[in-house]
């Protein structure tokens, strides 16, 4: 149902890493000031490095738009023989790691195709988005499904992707009163963003369609269909295709 295509992603310049504490068990590493592709690539490279080289006491790392947050256990990082603060020790380790990530290191990315049944019962707000922007329904579908989106990070809900790259011609304000329940798989537009509700939840986005793919399935290895660093493209499908659609991945 979805395809993978691989391309090269290359780190261009070595960013300046800024460290700050996130409570008493986290270090926030800032890799840039604005949301852009270059910073994002550095975030992905750093996360990948941490995944491959976890240090003793490291719990997990979480990519953000411009940050990587590293959670650690202060007790494991404490050595009774010295007076080094666990936070300082974590920063020293991360600082050293940042030197290891060479600026020629490159990463491959996946292109994930997501089938969407636009409009009808699955996309009750498709017309609103078209009207607001002076477009026809076909134009909205065409613009939305020809763009390649970048998954900056997963958050807000399990498997929920923060997508970048939506065409500004589709920008539509959120609904004035949020819906109490939006079905899983709903594809929506909120302001300048587009996204997919990965689980059923309340929400204020304009719903333009729905995918039969499951974006989140509790499980060990990859509970989320999408990962930070993936690229996404939507493919319009008919209601019939939706009904026959593959629900699992």
């Amino acid at each position: 149902m979805w395809q993978c295509r691989y391309s090269k992603m290359e780190g261009k310049t070595l960013p300046r890493y800024e460290f700050s504490p996130l409570g008493d068990s986290g270090v926030m590493v800032k890799l840039g000031e604005v949301i852009d592709q270059l910073t994002h690539e550095q975030v992905i490279l750093f996360c990948e490095y941490l995944q491959e080289h976890p240090f003793p006491g490291m719990i997990e790392s979480v990519p953000g738009f411009t940050t990587v947050t590293v959670y650690y256990d202060p007790i494991t990082l404490f050595d009774p023989l010295d007076d080094i603060l666990p936070y300082d020790r974590a920063v020293a380790i991360l600082e050293q790691m940042s030197q290891q990530i060479s600026n020629t290191h490159s990463k491959e990315y996946r292109l994930v195709e997501i089938p969407v049944c636009y409009g009808g019962n699955f996309g009750p707000d498709l017309e609103v988005v078209a009207k607001q922007n002076g477009l026809s329904i076909e134009e909205v579908i065409s613009i939305h499904s020809t763009t390649e989106y970048l998954v900056y990070m997963i958050g807000f809900a399990p498997g929920f992707p923060y997508l970048g790259g939506m065409d500004e011609r589709l920008a539509t304000p959120r609904r004035s009163s949020p819906r109490l329940s939006i079905p899983m798989g709903s594809v929506g537009i909120g302001g300048l963003q587009t996204g997919i509700y990965s689980i059923e939840s309340p929400g204020g986005w304009q719903i333009i369609g729905r995918t039969p793919l499951r974006l989140f399935q509790a499980g060990e290895s990859s509970p989320s269909l999408l990962c930070a660093g993936d690229k996404v493209r939507f493919r319009p499908i008919s209601e019939r295709e939706y009904e026959n659609g593959e629900k699992v991945y």
């Binding site: 504490p21 996130l22 409570g23 008493d24 986290g26 738009f65 411009t66 603060l85 807000f156 990962c227």
Partner: protein
């Protein structure tokens, strides 16, 4: 089957120390709210720290035991009976099959924990037995317990069995027996008020001088809209010197974020993984159990603590916990 739920209480869930490694996929950590209480409860029955317990909120459940079991109850002060006779918290209790353990309302505190020797046997989902209520997975069928649910106990370790045998002998024909030694617990919420320490957050300096002052000098009240996800507080509105659009990034347990209405929210166990509101501070790990036991309407005073002191305090508490564990083993003659 080990126990059967007669009445479920207000919000009774299976939890352990949390689900780690999946925040990059948007999966909340979840886990128990009061880790200190759970650590002691698990120690009292000879468990590992990571074994799953039941977390009870405000009004506890009634449970029918279908098996002889070793249990311990810690955390908030609830009215607890076995076959209508009072039971004390913070100690190992042997309970005979056929008995009914009944939790009433919380007299003090908000959450109590029921640990059983071996822990509760629910499937491990992504490395944890914690319930993720929002996404409906983990724990017992991804939800709160309901009447008629049947829970199973994992097989207890050798120390747990040793302890259970001791208490069973002392019980004789009685339906239960509680150990005559206990781990004293501190209550940090006094007359509905608690002092909670705070490490300055990344945007602390971006709040007005008056707001920074009132944050530490005035009192905040826990709103009724508080739950396992976050504690919403009401109090003096905290204002930024200028409005700021932050780029969303990871948020941790204890993060005190301030949305545009100026009323702070302390993020707790079921928090989302990513947030974008200004962070005025962080409740250090050592004081999270205090927050976890506050109930709606109760009050918080914030007091500043440095990151250094917060981490030192955590390390000291870890040593104390290790000493308590050793103390238990010596007391019962295991060592």
């Amino acid at each position: 089957m080990s126990i059967e739920v007669i009445t479920p209480g207000l919000c009774t869930t299976v939890q352990d120390t949390g689900r780690f490694g999946f925040q990059q996929y948007g999966v909340s950590v979840s886990g128990v709210m009061d880790k200190q209480a759970v650590q002691i409860a698990n120690m009292l029955v000879g468990n590992q720290q990571t074994d799953a317990v039941l977390e009870l909120t405000m009004r506890g459940p009634s449970l029918l035991f279908h098996k002889d079991m070793l249990i311990a109850i810690c955390g908030g002060d609830f009215k607890v009976t076995i076959n209508d006779r009072s039971v004390l918290p913070n100690r190992a209790v042997w309970i005979r099959s056929g008995s009914i353990l009944k939790f009433g309302l919380a007299k003090e505190g908000c959450r109590a924990y029921l640990a059983v020797a071996g822990g509760w046997d629910v499937p491990l989902v992504m490395g944890s037995r914690s319930t993720n209520l929002r996404a409906s997975f983990g724990g017992f069928a991804g939800r709160m317990l309901a009447a008629g649910d049947k829970l199973v106990q994992s097989s207890p370790g050798s120390f747990s069995q040793f302890l259970a045998n001791q208490l069973e002998k002392k019980a004789g024909a009685a339906p239960f027996y509680q150990a005559n030694w206990f781990i004293p617990s501190n209550t940090f919420v006094k007359n509905g008020e608690a002092v909670v320490r705070v490490i300055q957050g990344e945007q602390f300096a971006d709040f007005t001088k008056e707001s920074r002052q009132s944050f530490f000098e005035q009192t905040f009240q826990v709103s009724t809209q508080s739950d396992r996800m976050g504690y919403r507080l009401t109090g003096p509105a905290l204002e930024l010197t200028q409005s700021m659009e932050l780029i969303s990034a990871a948020v941790t347990i204890g993060t005190i974020q301030v949305p545009p209405n100026g009323q702070p929210i302390i993020l707790m166990a079921d928090r989302q993984t990513i947030g974008g509101y200004p962070k005025i501070g962080y409740v250090p790990t050592i004081d999270l159990p205090i927050v976890a036991q506050l109930r709606p309407g109760e009050k918080i005073h914030f007091q500043e603590i440095s990151l250094r002191d917060a981490q030192k305090a955590l390390i000291e508490r870890d040593s104390l916990m290790k000493a308590i564990k050793l103390g238990i083993e010596v007391t019962v003659g295991w060592r």
